[in-house]
Amino acid sequence: MMGPASEIILRGTEEPCRPWIRRTLSREDWTALVAALPAQPGLALVTLWADTAQAHALFVNEDTGDILPVSTAIIEGGYPALSPARPAAAWLERMVRDLWGHSALGGTDDRPWLDHGRWPHTFPNAIRPGPMGPPPEPPEFLPVTGEDLHQVAVGPIHAGIIEPGHFRFTAQGETVVRLEIRLGYTHKGTLSLMRSKSPRAAARFAARLSGDSTVAHSIAFARATEAALGVEAPARANGLRGVMAEIERIANHLGDVGAICNDASFAFALARFGFHREAMLRAAHAAFGHRLMMDAVVPGGVAGDIAPGGAEAILAAIAGVEAELPELVHVYENYSSLIDRVVGTGVITRTLADRFATGGHVGRAAGRTGDARLHPGYPPYPDLMVVVPSFPEGDVDARVRIRFAEIAESIRLLRLLLQDLPGGALATTLPMLSGEGIGCAESFRGDVWHWLRLDNGQIASVFMRDPSWAQWPLLEAAIEGNIIADFPLCNKSFNCSYSGVDL
């Protein structure tokens, strides 16, 4: 099914972006696109970003599978907003305004996002950044009206060992009627630091956008670079990237499941899952020289080969997980005090997940089935017949069960990958060329997308989209009608990245 909005995109001027052609629309056509979006709900907005001259959006037609990057020129400092038709655009439009200074005309929310009034200048990615703004004001939160409401302000410094962000709860008694999340605290100016660097040098920043997904972000960045330059990573590099990505997925899911159970005070699960997570990280260190495998994936291939004995270390670690996992799942399912906390808690509906095109365990626990390893798909996965779990319930329990299923599937994939690692080169040389590319990878959180434009081998413009952009807003919805005491459970079952969206 084509749909009215897709047809407008396909009318645009083709730009040489690989592997998916980007189309530039006139102001009139972009306005028509915004008007046509409500009639085509299956055209999912993946992300929105900008450079100094254009605003860019990445759509995926979930009915046909088409991937549609589309742009429009910035005219008089603005572009027609997407947020009236796609609520997921609201945070992204605020981010674009703060970094590039382009206004989303007719947008649903024009409050600052990343800019807290503390940088030396405004619009840091613009050609001419603006002067420093007025001294920081207390942030403005959305109004709430009703009887007997009170607010609970949490953060940016939380009580646990987690990243900083501000949560503003409005509650009636114990029940949350609204949560508003304010982020941007960990903004490091990453996109600006990557400009004018070679892809090899800039990859270190992609690897540090969100430390827990360092492998997935490095793969997406490498694939975007390779697409822009028209080169392919060697088969062995693709195999090793797959091995690293699956280790990362298992380790993160193990850590999260333990932490979710611990938030319901079930320390036994934290101890056992934490033990296996540690085993996975040690295997990663034995195989690739770094526990989180940071900088092990580079544009063009991988930084080094798997160490002698590395495969055996990985196989031993996954055998340990596999041996105990059924017992642990049984324990999880049969401790009524634990199940009482997770079942029916923090529900998000399929409709909401679809509206935000949410991927990863959050989307799949609400009935969605997308997985970047299958669609658009990238090596080494097409031959491995990846099985993607999906549950309809949308609660904390469903998000935990998605992780159990993904751990088991990743163990199967790791065995296949290690059994059949192709020989040959580890990396291909990158030519000093110009070009534009998009890369995608499935992190443990969901689909990661990177876009970049190279000018004679140097980065002219870049954007990195963490799946958390489509998950944080759903967390605001998930906690509505729940009690504040269940927020840690909801939050941990999502485990969105702060640094990943703070850029």
């Binding site: 009580a159 903004h187 430390g211 360092t214 932490a259 101890a271 017992e327 049984h330 702060y498």
Partner: protein
């Protein structure tokens, strides 16, 4: 199932690893820096408050690992607390983003004296790869020292749990004189 595992652990011994030795020279060097009054007051038990000053969350993953049963931080008298008001040590990660500068200073002010600040990870030590960004404070040597005085640095991206453990135990030993 739970009890079966617990009995097995009782029979076979815990998964916790013996601690690596720590260097005398490092302990003495650190002891010389520390406040003698604090040594008598705090002894061999330190409460740690973690604060993220803009990290990528890689350091946080390794701090979590310290609490797992393999490293079992608490056996050394070290424990993480929920409020800076309960803390003796601030364990700070991240390059000190400008958006967190005020929060770091307030956290430091909320921590009662005597207190120590540990800069954990390359970012906290000198800004790491983010050095020179408009969004990072970067005053002086960069890192969190641009906002608060630093007593101990743990380099690494991120430092391994073993390295963090050695550094924190050095702090205890130096503190206990």
């Amino acid at each position: 199932m739970v009890w079966r595992r617990i009995f097995r652990t009782l029979a076979e011994g815990p998964a916790t690893e013996p601690a690596a030795p720590i260097g005398d020279a490092a302990t003495q060097a650190l002891a010389a820096q520390l406040d003698a009054a604090a040594q008598t007051r705090l002894g061999r038990s330190l409460s740690i408050r973690h604060m993220d000053a803009g990290s990528c969350n890689g350091c946080e993953l390794e701090i979590h690992a310290l609490n797992n049963i393999v490293y079992d931080l608490e056996r050394f008298g070290l424990r993480f607390v929920a409020s800076p008001r309960h803390a003796d040590v601030l364990l700070v990660t991240g390059p000190l983003s400008r958006n967190l500068r005020e929060a770091l200073i307030q956290t430091w002010q909320a921590t009662p004296d005597p207190k120590w600040v540990v800069a954990m990870g390359d970012c906290a030590v000198d800004g790491g790869v983010f050095k020179g960004s408009y969004a990072i404070d970067g005053t002086g040597t960069g890192g969190i020292a641009a906002g608060v005085p630093v007593d101990l640095k743990i380099p690494g991206c991120p430092p391994t749990p073993a390295a963090i453990l050695v550094a924190l135990r050095t702090l205890i030993d130096a503190n206990a004189g």
